[in-house]
Symmetry: D2
Subunit: 154 residues, 4 copies
């Protein structure tokens, strides 16, 4: 399964007076990349919520390696690192799309909840979604892009 | 009826690389001031929503007069300028709490919706809320504070 | 001169508990569209700042017509409505890219400042930028796209 | 040294369509608490920057325990967990001010940079700031408040 990495420009309103992107905005980027990834594998988060599956964040961690500036194109590659029907863990690599240099490494953990906020085992409640998640285990987005070395050109 | 103005510090994450508060954040301040004002008059927005009254923004306008910087204490005075049961208009004055100088002037318009998103006439549906709104017409928050000239001292 | 409209999905983190996009985020969209427009005409905002031209927002107004929801693709068309070297005014039309329906109409006013925060007349200080601005007067982005009626297909 | 915990209401614009505070906003709260803490110990972040000391975030981690809702008062207690002149680590405890229940546990790491972005050893460059940091090692804000059990009453 080939999944594209997520790319977009860093916005002006995401900068702070240190002249770089404020660290809190990276958390938004992780969510954007996550939702884009799910969309690509036919499991759009909107349709998940409509099907009664909510997936809140249990934890987040992010290590900032180098500053990102306004107008830089950031690229987020992500991998479903763990999944057992009840919880899952995603790891992220944020790079500068032009240079390929790492900007940040991150990880998020999630669970599944019903509309009423009750924990849910996707294996039992939504076997079709579960099958997709199982198939994604270990799959990293943007793999061929990196291999092809086309990152800096786009 | 005496209503206090709303004050808080401008946050670091609200700055941008021009070294001042990014203009989009003022929209947040208006909402904070509005909710604080409603709370003071016993019409907390949380309880309004629980009673099935939603009040979205129909329009917003803001004129930026002078920059606000990180750590500045901003003070928002507001006034219910118009109200007819169906819509209302609020005007705002954002000043620097230390100097009293105007930072921005703003206006928002709102209506009332049911939980299902249908327009609502507060006069008919919620007479108690309507009575509070009627009593607020023309009332500006922070009036005595200004009169007392204590603004710069706090 | 043909300038493309600006499009992107509404993010999950831009929603609020009313189940729609919070109104403050539209201010971000206007900025994104503005910067994308300037980029297209060879006047990238990053290079403008590097050339010592800063362009803060003097005023903003936005009229919300219909709700935008998570995952909707919004499309922003904009037009340089007024320009005289010292100030300029932009008008915006935010539509739903799929249906073409209007979501919001907005307007922003801007001036030019030096790095030190002094007002600047672009005609005198940066004739090349001024020439671009002059050529843009009245030009609306996304014109042909609309005429071609391809909006809903993309 | 007694340092007060940081408290404020969760804002409406911080909610998302799951009906709770979006997780990215907690990162803002940590910054607000951090700046408030530094202010209380006479080391306001604004004056630090004016003295040429910048302190970016190296890493952040946050474990979400229970949802926070609009209008809840959150309370952030923090502790300077590690400090060696070059880097420091802060741990945070976000609780519901009314009930005292834990909402999230977090940690951030920081370093010091010059205005030009060069790493800085505070012990050598700014002995006065260093002395304050040393004196704060292990000091948790809001200690007596908790001990007094007055949390729910305020």
């Amino acid at each position: 399964m080939k999944i594209k990495s997520y790319e977009r420009k860093a916005h002006y309103y995401e900068t702070d007076q240190m002249g770089m992107i404020h660290h809190a905005n990276y958390v938004h980027w992780l969510e954007e990349a996550r939702i884009d990834y799910l969309e690509q594998v036919g499991m759009g988060y909107k349709s998940m919520e409509e099907a009664g599956v909510f997936s809140p964040v249990l934890s987040i961690s992010c290590r900032y390696k180098h500053m990102v500036h306004f107008d830089d194109v950031i690229r987020v590659q992500m991998k479903l690192a763990e999944y057992n029907g009840i919880k899952y863990k995603i790891s992220y690599r944020i790079t500068d799309a032009a240079s390929g240099q790492v900007r940040a490494l991150a990880e998020t953990e999630h669970c599944f909840l019903t509309r009423e906020g009750k924990p849910m085992n996707l294996k039992k409640s939504h076997p079709a979604f579960d099958a997709v998640m199982e198939s994604l285990l270990g799959v990293e987005s943007g793999q061929d892009e990196a291999a092809a070395g086309t990152v800096g050109v786009r």
